[in-house]
Symmetry: C2
Subunit: 225 residues, 2 copies
């Protein structure tokens, strides 16, 4: 374990972050498995299932890390349940294409956000987070499927573009609630005397990068952001 984790403020922030990430992976697993039920073909079902299983594997690693820190993973996840559950309740896909876009856009945005934060963490935690977020190679499947759906039914493209915007809006508003409620996370982002952090300008630049990457993902899907 890194020496940074001896600092109780830093440690609390890291436990919060891992708890949020773990619960996020667990709900992502659940939602992807649910979306697999909407899949039009067995191949689609299996692809979504593979994504769901990969998320569950990530959850297991995060749970193990929390245990190694002497923390009950379930207690660490609990503060983030309401936020993630609200996000998913407000963004339940109405059909298969919406599920695909959510899987891709939601995953991408969450991964970008955690990667940004990982840059400010100790090596051990950073490595774990980056490995957890490593692209599992399923994006290509989603991109190809969404592009085909839009080429076959152009009208669906407009609806999915709106859907993408709603997903981002909802994600950002839930992220704000989390940071506002959890001092540990805010302090983690703010840094400390011997630890770099983000000032307001840096946070602004981070959001600019997140938004830019999101637009890139929407464009790859053939959708306007």
């Amino acid at each position: 374990m890194s020496a940074e984790l001896d600092d109780p403020v830093y440690r609390t922030g890291v436990v919060d972050l891992l708890g949020a990430l773990a619960y996020g992976e667990l709900t992502a697993f659940e939602r992807l498995a649910e979306d697999a039920a909407l899949a039009p073909t067995l191949l689609d079902k299996a692809e979504l299932g593979a994504m769901a299983s990969a998320e569950f594997g990530h959850f297991t690693r995060l749970q193990e890390r929390l245990s190694a820190l002497g923390v009950d993973a379930y207690a660490a996840m609990e503060p983030f349940r309401a936020t993630f559950d609200n996000f998913h309740a407000h963004t339940a896909p109405a059909d298969w294409p919406e599920g695909l876009v959510k899987a891709h856009v939601g995953d991408g945005l969450a991964a970008d956000f955690y990667r940004e934060i990982a840059a400010y963490l100790d090596t051990g935690t950073r490595t774990l987070i980056l490995e957890t977020l490593a692209d599992t190679g399923h994006s290509a499947f989603v991109v190809a499927r969404v592009r085909r759906i839009i080429s076959e039914q152009p009208a669906v493209g407009g609806r999915l573009a709106l859907w993408g915007r709603r997903l981002v809006g909802e994600a950002l508003s839930q992220a704000q609630v989390v940071v506002a409620e959890r001092d540990g996370l805010s302090l983690l982002l703010a840094g400390g005397v011997d630890r770099p952090g983000m000032d307001l300008a840096a946070i602004g630049r981070m959001f600019a990068r997140l938004t830019e990457n999101h637009s890139g993902r929407m464009a790859a899907l053939g959708l306007s952001a």
Copy 2:
């Protein structure tokens, strides 16, 4: 690949069997993930999620094996969709305890059945099937949970005992439909000139063993079979 697989009749039977097993694992994954949504605690949710992910891992291995045999896994699964979907449609758990019992009893019965058949197969296929069915260590969780539920709400025990009987009845009737419809499977069971098979007496003994094991599992859960 074993020499047995050069025999087209044997090969057709094996492809059928692997297709049925693969689709069974894929639907088991889906149902367990769905049941995880009913879980009363995060710990329960994670346990069911782990079972679901393990099933998906099995599905992936079977899919790879079918590809190695030069067969499209999705085409091999297709003939078994209706049967498994019917089974699940007729045995949708009404609540969390029913989901737990179904996970345990259904998994156990399926595993016993495939293990019985594996004894008549070439070494490569047999090893794959036995490894696919290896207990992933989650049974202990289900047994403990069901026993606690019954000790807290004894009335639930009677309902779950009936539920267990319905699960077996439905499973056996669907299994009969499959064997009746798929000549490849019947021929696999019947054996060939240079390959041992099951005569009617052996099939009878197999069903006796399946029923006995089922009763044992119900007893372990604290339920009368």
